[in-house]
Symmetry: none
Subunit: 222 residues, 4 copies
DNA sequence: TATGAATGAGTGTTCATTCAT
DNA sequence: AATGAATGAACACTCATTCAT
């Protein structure tokens, strides 16, 4: 009883440990420079043992990806499920994103690893259907908020909300990529966050209906 | 002498031929799927000969990168050096970009190859000093135009022009990456161009001073 | 006692279960494509447990082999131990073989698995002493019948009965190998059986004394 | 000139050397126990070099196979192309086979290696069409001779010549397999040859029309 | 007794790079 | 100057076997 429970726990932990090592290596060296050998060595296991937990490199990497996307979503959800105005929802989403941002890892892993697997990711703004439903969900939620803003007369009624979503996401992604290259504990992070905020604000201004008072478009306000 | 001159010329041309083959292969198959073997075969040379001209794969790829950046700049310069208003200059810059864009090659090579080499590229808007001074020059030119727009009262006087430049560039880059994943002869290219144009227009609206009439901000107008 | 007896019985049965699973997998996938992992999984045991019963793959496979030969013999014995004429005995032997043949399994396992183990099997007609005394017994019985036929004036008195035996067996073996490659449920089996019968008949004709009336050599007659 | 010729010659020889090593290893250890590593080591080359000459294990093995079949055919052709009676042709074919037999290698490699590649070889008597046209050619030639013998009234008019061919071939094959297990320099070879001859003779007797005088069926006579 | 977990030694294959000629 | 030939180190993946519990 106790024994089998402990076994199960250890197994789960070993899995996690392998994933953790893989994640660290990916963040450190880039997806393309991580081999199963490397992962095994870092986890202080034999390659065969790693294969015991993940039956292929693709499966391992995919799991990293999904897990990160899930974790990002988990974090954002609370900010998104309320019945706010579109602009307020966007603000909340932004806040959630910002909070998570101190540690970019989830985003990097989500997007970079998937890109490695599909070598098709970036596209996510072109393709109708994505392989990962988490990514779809993120896109969908943002799009809904943008549409809401149009309805509320805040955003340009001619704005293509799908396109605007993609533009937003590509901006976020771009920052993530940049951040991925900077050591995580860098003192530059506040600068990045500041720049992201400004960029997001600019995009929102760009989305706005002509003549709208910018005070109602602020993303940082309450 | 004539002989040694001809030798020199031939040498230069062979270098170019190798670079050309490498470029084509990269565009065709993606950076990760091009081997020295492939390049040599396409250039109808032996691998060893390729190594005679480029002492490593990294050096070869780096040169492709630099050359593409240079060529992109060459193309854009004429549009930028005139004494136009900031907004007109941006429009011209945009037009130059668009013209080149029908065939993204330079951009793809510039950014994707560098990304492959450094897996560190994206940062280019954060680092003070870039490895490639061409990229620096592009940034500088755009920034100057944005400043001009501020002076002319078209853009928000509080806009951080360096940041705005980086934002623009990252958007461009983002599209390049997307494009790089789509087969080059794709019928999707017009859609990408349309989306890019909209995106650029949104950014310009976002850069604008509050209350400015949007007709003066059009990027596609004369 | 009762307990230890039951334990013993269970142990024997588990052994059998493992062997059964291994046999089925071999027949299904071919000797080379069966791993200890597969066997364990099919037997719903851990690999380690399988090793408890069979200290190596070789030993397990060897046992399959022996067991199949034994079982084949068991089946044939009744047809061979009577006091018939040589030709009648051969006919009976043939009938026994044919009966078993609808399901080649024993033969396939006997010969194919041994072949996998030794890659030395076919030899069985050259070596003085075989590793499996079952095979020896089969050979011996057939040889006795052939000698009988010689004595009865049906077969060529100069016929080397040992050699004739080996020839017969190699023909049988050849068919087994063919059959082993065809999916077991194949509609080709009747064709194989027909061809085997013709072949056996030809051999018997070849064994016959010159001038003997072929009607007395028929293998399919009563 | 001289140089490039020598180079070419060396290359051809290296190819041959690799093939030779592979053949020896196959004959020594059995097809399944030969790895590219082994071959490279035996050839005193790196694995990568072996891949320079043969782009995959399958291609290397296939070449061994084809080459052996070709060589066997080359050897037999002269004996088969004359305008002899069917029985004389069979005798000649037999003689050719016997001559080659002192060194079974060709046959072993032809059949065993193909079997490894297809794991389907043995069937060659069941399938209509073979992958190797050399094997087809061998079968066709023998069948023609058997038909000839039927026409000439020597063989049983009811004999299915295709089946008889398969029977003959499976007998030959059987001996090849046996021989493959005996060390090649064995003093047992004469015994094998004697046994093969007897076996072939028995088959011919079995093929014969009832009542035919056996003196005309001798395979060893002039 | 039974097993989950671990692994060493391979498997075929690829590729940037070197070197003798 | 040019190259054919060679290779070491890597790659993802597999499997018979062992061992602590």
């Amino acid at each position: 009883m106790g024994i089998s429970e402990r076994r199960e726990r250890e197994k789960v932990e070993r899995r996690k440990a392998i994933l953790k090592c893989a994640r660290e290596l990916i963040l450190l060296n880039g997806v393309h420079r991580v081999s199963m050998e490397d992962i095994a060595r870092k986890a202080e296991l034999s390659k065969a043992t790693v294969y015991l937990y993940f039956s292929s490199k693709e499966i391992l990497f995919n799991e990293i990806c999904e897990e990160s996307a899930r974790s990002f979503l988990e974090h954002c959800k609370p900010f998104l499920e309320t019945g706010l105005t579109g602009m307020a929802a966007l603000r909340c989403f932004w806040r959630g994103y910002m909070e998570l941002f101190g540690n970019f890892d989830e985003m990097i892993l989500t997007f970079k690893v998937r890109n490695y697997l599909d070598s098709n990711l970036m596209f996510l703004m072109l393709q109708e259907q994505n392989k990962s439903h988490y990514v779809d969900f993120i896109l969908e939620t943002i799009k809904t908020n943008i549409d809401e803003c149009k309805v509320e007369g805040v955003f340009d009624p001619d704005l293509d909300s799908a396109m605007a979503t993609r533009l937003l996401l590509s901006m976020f992604f771009s920052f993530i990529e940049k951040a991925a290259c900077v050591p995580m504990d860098s003192e530059k992070i506040p600068a990045i966050i500041k720049e992201m905020t400004s960029s997001f604000q600019i995009l929102v201004h760009g989305f706005a209906k002509e003549g709208i008072d910018r005070s109602s478009l602020s993303i940082s306000g309450a």
